[in-house]
Each structure stands twice: as structure tokens, then as C-alpha cells.
């Protein structure tokens, strides 16, 4: 309680002590980003004890591939959360975007009388994503509606649209162009894994080293102060919503490619995992806090634990209950290792 009177001491004294404090704090700030790394290593060790297969290359790639699709949605949600907003509809975009593309290009499911050329599948997927984001932006940013309810409504509407166009069925026989991103491999590693890693890398750069990225933190931290600093708050938020929805569509495309189909319930329930991964990774639901590296370790940790359970021979009927348990456990784990309150 005496720190205030301490700062009142002579200037020379203060400046020398601040240099020391600066170094310490910088190191601390970096450490905070790596808070989950010990947990990741710990789970890897436990996984190895449970079943040595865990550390085999094939299994590690499998973990990365299954997490890459949701990982991109986590990335997207993190962008929005850092800016102090939230978007629940990402999980429906994840299913609807490739669904619409399949509906328009498949010959056996003629949507508009005649089907579109198969190369349009990927652009359509991304465009649907961008469009959903733009509509969310229109309602939340322009019309000032409550973001939680708007995106909750969108989640239900988009889910219903996918069921409507697919008549509850699964789209099969998709064109090769739509499968490529989920099936091709570079250097024996799936393209989706490379893409996921590259996007996280790009996001780390944008958030750490560009004015636009820093603007997200500023807006999430104190909206009015950000506006006072000359940041166009509305435009940044709107763009973030569009980018995030487009990323969710890309994530959906990657899953579609891996499974070579679009199920009517693709993405259903994913949003809980997405929020859990982001919060475990240190992204604050109140905005302005968290890093992309943290979010990445968050989603990685979740999928590693799931894989360990599968390798441990846990009965499939119990996986649902365990999934929820894992999220709670990981939350507790990250609270302990980072030592920070999650708010």
C-alpha cells in the first residue's frame, strides 16, 4: 500500500528501478503467452504413458488435422473476442458455406435449374462466409442490435437454411476442387494443417505488428479511448466480422474436404468447443486481452486430451460427457498454470 509514496522519492532512484522493472515485466508478458505450454507437454507425456502410439508421427498429424478445422474457427472467434464482441453463428457458417456451394455445383442437386461449373465451389463457399459476416455487421455495427442475440438468431437461421437446401440429407460426390484443401498433402502433412499453421502465424503478425491488429486490442480494451485515438471503430468491427465468417467458411471447407461430404449438421455444437478453446488459451470474453499463440495452444490442448482419451480406450458412449468434462478440466488447468483470473 505504500507504493504511491515510494514513487515520490527522487527521480534518479525511480528511473534506475524502472529499468529493472521493465525487463522483468517484459519477460512476464512473454511468459503469459506460453502459460499453456507446460500443460501441452504434460498431456503429451501422459499420452505417451497411456499409449506410446500417441507420440508417433501419424498420430500427431491426425491430432493436428482434426484440430485444424476447428482451429481456424477458434482463430476467427478470437479476433472478434479481442475486439470485445462475440459471434455465435460461426458454427453455422462453418456448415452452411460449403453446403451452399455443394447445392449449387452438384448435378444431382440442381438448385437453380442448372448447376454451376464445379470450379466455383471454393469461391462460393468463401463468398457465403463473407456475406454472413457482412449481414452480422449490418445488424450489430450499423443497426446497433445486441450482438449476442443477433448471432444467436443467425446461428438458428443458417442452421435451418442448410437443413432446407439439403432436405436433411448429406451432400456427396463433391467436385475435386472442393476436396483438395482437405485431402491433399505436402511433405506427407495435410494441406489443411499447413494452412491452419500459416493462418495462425499470419494472425500473430497482424495482431502484434500492424495498426489494424493493435486497433482490435484498443477497441476491446476501451472503445471510447480507441475512437478518441482516431480509430474507425465501426469499420474495424465490421471488417473483423466479415474476415471471421470467411475464415469459418474456410474451416468448414477443410472438414468437407476431409470427409468428402457436407452433412446437414456440419458444425453443429462446435461453438462451445470454440469458446472453450479461446478462453482456455487466455482470450478474455470481455475483450482486449489474449494472444493468437495462446488461442492456438488452447485448441491444441483440447484436442490432445481428446486423443489421449480415445487412445486410452474410453467407450464412445461416454465421450460426450467427457468432452464437457475436458473443457472444465482444461479451464481449471489453464487457470492454475497462468495464474490469471478468467473474466
Amino acid at each position: 500500500m505504500t507504493n504511491i509514496s515510494d514513487t515520490a522519492t527522487s527521480d534518479v532512484e525511480v528511473s534506475s528501478s524502472t529499468v529493472v522493472a521493465a525487463g522483468r515485466r517484459l519477460r512476464l508478458a512473454r511468459l503469459r503467452d506460453f502459460a499453456l505450454v507446460p500443460a501441452v507437454l504434460g498431456v503429451a507425456f501422459v499420452g505417451y504413458l497411456v499409449n506410446p502410439v500417441f507420440l508417433h508421427k501419424g498420430n500427431l498429424i491426425l491430432i493436428l488435422q482434426t484440430m485444424s478445422e476447428v482451429g481456424i474457427v477458434v482463430l476467427a472467434e478470437s479476433l472478434i473476442l479481442i475486439a470485445g464482441r462475440m459471434d455465435l453463428s460461426l458454427e453455422s457458417t462453418f456448415g452452411l458455406a460449403p453446403g451452399v456451394a455443394a447445392w449449387l455445383v452438384l448435378p444431382n442437386a440442381p438448385a437453380l435449374g442448372s448447376h454451376l461449373p464445379s470450379w466455383t465451389g471454393v469461391p462460393i463457399t468463401l463468398a457465403v462466409g463473407a456475406l454472413v459476416g457482412a449481414i452480422n455487421g449490418l445488424l450489430i455495427v450499423r443497426s446497433r442490435l445486441n450482438g449476442f442475440i443477433v448471432t444467436l438468431g443467425m446461428l438458428i437461421v443458417l442452421r435451418g437454411l442448410l437443413t432446407g437446401i439439403s432436405k436433411g440429407q448429406t451432400f456427396f460426390n463433391l467436385p475435386h476442387s472442393m476436396l483438395w484443401v482437405g485431402q491433399a498433402r505436402w511433405l506427407t502433412v495435410p494441406v489443411s494443417v499447413w494452412l491452419c499453421l500459416a493462418l495462425f502465424g499470419a494472425a500473430m503478425f497482424v495482431l502484434g505488428y500492424t495498426r489494424a491488429g493493435r486497433a482490435l486490442y484498443a477497441i476491446g480494451g476501451n472503445r471510447n479511448a480507441a475512437r478518441a485515438a482516431g480509430i474507425n471503430v465501426d469499420r474495424v468491427l465490421w471488417l473483423t466480422l466479415i474476415v471471421a465468417s470467411t475464415l469459418a467458411a474456410l474451416g468448414g471447407l477443410m472438414l468437407t474436404g476431409r470427409l468428402a461430404s457436407v452433412a446437414a449438421n456440419q458444425g453443429n455444437g462446435y461453438i462451445f468447443t470454440v469458446f472453450a478453446a479461446a478462453v482456455i488459451g487466455g482470450i478474455s470474453l470481455n475483450g482486449g486481452k489474449g494472444t493468437m499463440f495462446g488461442a492456438f495452444t488452447g485448441v491444441l490442448l483440447l484436442y490432445m486430451i481428446q486423443d489421449v482419451l480415445t487412445l486410452g480406450g474410453v467407450n464412445a458412449e461416454w465421450i460426450g460427457a467427457l468432452d464437457g468434462g475436458i473443457i472444465l478440466l482444461a479451464l481449471v488447468l489453464s487457470r492454475i498454470t497462468s495464474g490469471q483470473a478468467q473474466d
Partner: protein
């Protein structure tokens, strides 16, 4: 830029800023009526007025956040830029607002250069260059703040310095300080004033807004008074005695209500509040004191002194490390507001915005929040009884409002604080704890709030006034000075101002570290 002296500059000099014939309406209410101000370069100019006099509106217009309905604003003789030209405004005028515009999760350096971070090659931000620029800036103005610290780790004073540094980084020569001292303790205010004087010597011009008149005599050369949306007077500070200043602000002769204090409160009265060996925070020395029936005791100390922690322990907002608190002989449960409340302790918390009231709820709901039993039977509230009780408290405290159903957020600061006081009084407490009760409150509301203390005393309530404001402490029968968590001295009524201030600063105590 001319070299400024502390004396008021000659009038023929081009004003650093001038507002002329400004009228501004919000719907039906007139916020400013043909008002104006002329600010001479190199001076510190005070703008005073009660809450609602039009000060904030003038600040908004002078900083280009809003346009006037009529009238003109000039800087150094040339007309102000258009509202959309934020850069243009920023070069002419900077403002340190009452509400912090610092972003807590960013570092000091980034807060200084937000949205104009220096870039290396391409569009990537160069953190190294930004840090260097930031520390150069802070060094230039002799501000010792760590550029890598997160803003959330700074105290109020440091945050304010960051805002001032940011204003300076735009090379602005004119800075508006909107109640900069509201949250600072005496030592920090002195440092701030020293800094203002230094900058003024270098040719900077300040517009200084404060509720504390003594500060205006301390730091300002010129003063302008607004009342009811109009300009009342502008003069040299030295030419306007306090009494006239207050009269200009309130429109009547000064309500010079230094409330009567009773020398030596009856020692025969029973002890109501007994604090024994209280350790409010880790490593704090034990605190012992008692309040008798009808006694008013001050707990005086600076911001870091620990006075607030002791008070919060008494009212149950904070769980003390050790020690006991007894009210009327009954020990209260540590850390439980409800237990303290049941024993008869009521309080006005330090920060009314976060702990004092629920802004969206009505005045009636707020003032009766602590006393559901008085206004309802078996858990069902009677709105009639609630409103009746609220009306009585509104009248007692002269809250300016058309009725008890108005949300508290729509009231001015002084009236909000009266509501918080009303909430404390509603339970007819045996012990009333007031933590910084007059912070950010205008002269008249202050008199009302302190007047309540005298009334409560007459009713036999023991009052603990926790503050570093000498005006607040004048109502007390005794004052306990706290320094670094320790009660270092006790003053009987009639103490000398400078002795109490010195005791609060820790001068003249056993181990003098200054």
C-alpha cells in the same frame, strides 16, 4: 511563442484560445447561453461552476467533440477546424478528461502512440522504435514512467501523466485539464501542480477545471465562472476573494457552513464502535480506536495510507487479516457487509460508480436497497411505502430531481452522491462510515453532505469520516492521521491545517523517511 511569466500576460496578446457567443442546446435544455472565454497564452486559466453550469459542454466544444449552435471558437486568432478534422483539433488543443482514455491492456508506449505507431519497413509496427520514441518523449518532460508497463498496472497519478504526455506528443501548446485532481491525494496534487508550473514556464497554456477552490488560488492566474449556462465573470484570481467566487458560482452570498464542531465529545457517552488490533491488509500495523455515541471522528491519510482499507474492513467490504470490530458490544463477522449492516453500520463507499449505486435503477430503489424490511412484508415490497421513504430522503438531502422514479444515472455527480448517502441513512445506522464523501462534488452539494454529518451527530450516530480533504475533516471532533497504515497522531478539534497535512505526509513521525 512568448516566454510566459506567472503574472497575467497583457490583454492585447492574441488569445491561445477564445470562444465567443457560444450557445448550445440539447433538446429543450440550454447548456450554454451566449457564453464565452478568452484564454491568454502562457497562463493557467480556471473554469469553475457548479455541476450543470455548462463547463463540460464548453470543454466538448473547445475540443471539437461537438459543435456549437452558434458562436465561434478561435485558436491563436485563427478559426477552429471542422469537426471531422480530428488531426487539426489535436494539434491545437489536447484534453485530459475526467474519464480515463487510457487502454488498460496496452503498454504505456502503445497508449502514447495508439493508431500512429511508428512503422519499420512496410506496414509492420516497429516496437523498438515506438518504445524509444515513448521513452524520449517521457524523458523530455521528465516523466519517470516505465514505457513497457501495462497501463492497468499504473496508479491514477501515473495514468494521468501518460495522458498529459500524449497531449504533449502532439506538440499542442494548449491543454485542458478536466478535474485532474479529483482522484489524486495531496502529495500527487502537489507534484501535478509543480509539473503544470514547469510546463507553463515553457510557454504552455492550461484551462484548469476543478471543484476545489483552494487549488485555483494555488495554481491559476485567471478565473472564469459559469453559472446556469451563462458566463458570470472573468478576472485575475488575485482580484477575486473566495467569498466572491462562491457567490458568483451559487448566485447568492456564500453558504459559509463550516459546520460547528463540538470540542471534546462527551466522554461519558457509551462506546458504539470499537476497533481492536485491526490489521486490514497484510503487514499493516494494528489499528485501535473507538467511537462514542454522537461522536464524529476523522480518519485522515493520503491515497496509499491504508485508511480506505481500514474503513472497508469496518463496513465488511474487505475481510481483515486479524483483529475485531464491535458495534454496540457485538462483534461483526469479518468480510460480510450484511453482518455489519445488521449491527447498525452504514456507509458511503469510496467509488460511488462501482459500489455506491445501480445507475439504471430509480432513486427510490437505490435508497431503499439496504432496508427491504422497512418497505415490505414477507419479501413482497410495497412501492407506496418505498416511494414515501424515498421522498423523505430526497427532501432531507435536497436531491435535485422531479421525483423518486428517475434513474440515478441521469443525476449529476453531487446528486448521485446524495442518493448514496440516502441509502446509508435509510437504515438509521448507529455507525456511519463515509469514505471520501465529497470527491467530485460541487460546493453546494458538499455543504449539504457535510451538513448531514451534523444532523446524524445530533441523533446520536457515531460518524467516521475517511478522507484527505481538509474540508471534510473540519466537521470532526477528533482526527486520526494515518501514514503507511499506522495511526501516527491524533488531533483534537481546532487543529492547524498544516500540522494535519504534515502528519498525513508522514513528516514528524517516529522514523522519518523523507
Amino acid at each position: 511563442m512568448s516566454v510566459a511569466s506567472n503574472a497575467p500576460a497583457p490583454v492585447e496578446e492574441t488569445p491561445a484560445a477564445e470562444a465567443h457567443g457560444i450557445t448550445k442546446r440539447y433538446g429543450g435544455t440550454v447548456a450554454l447561453q451566449d457564453a464565452g472565454i478568452v484564454i491568454t497564452p502562457g497562463t493557467t486559466h480556471a473554469l469553475v461552476g457548479r455541476n450543470g453550469a455548462g463547463k463540460s459542454t464548453l470543454v466538448s466544444i473547445l475540443t471539437g467533440l461537438e459543435s456549437a449552435d452558434s458562436g465561434e471558437v478561435t485558436f491563436n486568432g485563427s478559426p477552429a477546424p471542422g469537426l471531422t478534422d480530428r488531426e487539426g483539433w489535436r494539434r491545437r488543443v489536447a484534453c485530459v478528461y475526467q474519464k480515463s482514455t487510457i487502454i488498460p491492456n496496452l503498454t504505456v508506449a502503445e497508449n502514447l502512440y495508439l493508431n500512429r505507431q511508428p512503422r519499420g519497413g512496410g506496414s509492420a509496427i516497429s516496437w523498438r522504435r515506438m518504445r524509444r520514441q515513448a521513452s524520449d518523449l517521457l524523458d523530455t518532460w521528465h516523466l519517470t514512467i516505465d514505457v513497457d508497463a501495462y497501463a492497468s498496472d499504473l496508479n491514477v497519478e501515473q495514468r494521468q501523466l501518460v495522458e498529459i504526455a500524449r497531449a504533449l506528443s502532439y506538440e499542442t501548446r494548449f491543454i485542458i485539464l478536466d478535474e485532474p485532481t479529483a482522484q489524486l491525494d495531496r502529495a500527487a496534487i502537489n507534484r501535478l501542480f509543480e509539473r503544470i508550473r514547469g510546463l507553463q514556464r515553457q510557454g504552455m497554456t492550461f484551462l484548469f477545471i476543478s471543484h476545489h477552490l483552494e487549488e485555483i488560488y494555488e495554481i491559476c492566474q485567471r478565473v472564469t465562472v459559469f453559472r446556469d449556462a451563462r458566463h458570470i465573470l472573468t478576472d485575475d484570481v488575485a482580484a477575486v476573494p473566495t467569498r466572491d467566487l462562491v457567490a458568483a458560482m451559487t448566485g447568492e452570498a456564500a453558504p459559509h457552513t463550516v459546520p460547528a464542531r463540538r470540542a471534546g465529545a462527551a466522554a461519558s457517552e457509551p462506546v458504539i464502535l470499537e476497533v481492536e488490533d485491526l490489521v486490514a491488509v497484510l503487514d499493516a500495523p494494528r489499528a485501535n480506536f473507538r467511537l462514542r455515541r454522537g461522536e464524529v471522528v476523522g480518519l485522515a491519510g493520503g491515497n496509499g495510507s491504508g485508511k480506505t482499507q481500514i474503513a472497508e474492513a469496518i463496513v465488511g467490504l474487505r475481510k481483515a487479516r486479524s483483529g475485531t470490530i464491535s458495534v454496540d458490544g457485538h462483534r461483526t463477522k469479518p468480510g460480510h457487509v450484511s453482518s455489519a449492516l445488521r449491527s447498525g453500520v452504514a456507509f458511503v463507499p469510496q467509488d460511488r460508480h462501482t459500489e455506491g449505486y445501480v445507475g439504471g435503477l430509480s432513486i427510490a430503489e437505490n435508497v431503499t436497497m439496504t432496508v427491504p424490511k422497512l418497505i415490505g412484508t414477507r419479501g413482497v415490497l410495497s412501492t407506496k411505502r418505498r416511494d414515501a421513504l424515498a421522498r423523505k430522503l430526497i427532501a432531507d438531502l435536497s436531491v435535485k430531481t422531479p421525483g423518486p422514479e428517475l434513474p440515478v444515472s441521469s443525476l449529476s455527480g453531487g446528486n448521485q452522491q446524495k442518493v448514496v448517502m440516502g441509502r446509508a441513512l435509510a437504515s438509521k445506522p448507529k455507525v456511519l462510515v463515509l469514505i471520501s464523501p465529497t470527491a467530485g462534488v460541487d460546493v453546494r452539494s458538499k455543504a449539504t453532505l457535510l451538513g448531514v454529518v451534523n444532523e446524524m451527530r445530533a441523533l446520536g450516530t457515531a460518524v467516521l469520516v475517511v478522507s484527505d480533504e481538509l474540508d471534510d475533516l473540519r466537521v470532526c471532533d477528533r482526527v486520526l492521521a494515518i501514514f503507511r497504515g499506522e495511526i501516527v497522531r491524533e488531533f483534537e478539534a481546532g487543529w492547524a491545517d498544516n500540522e494535519l497535512v504534515l502528519a498525513m505526509e508522514g513528516v514528524g513521525t517516529t522514523d522519518d523517511e523523507h
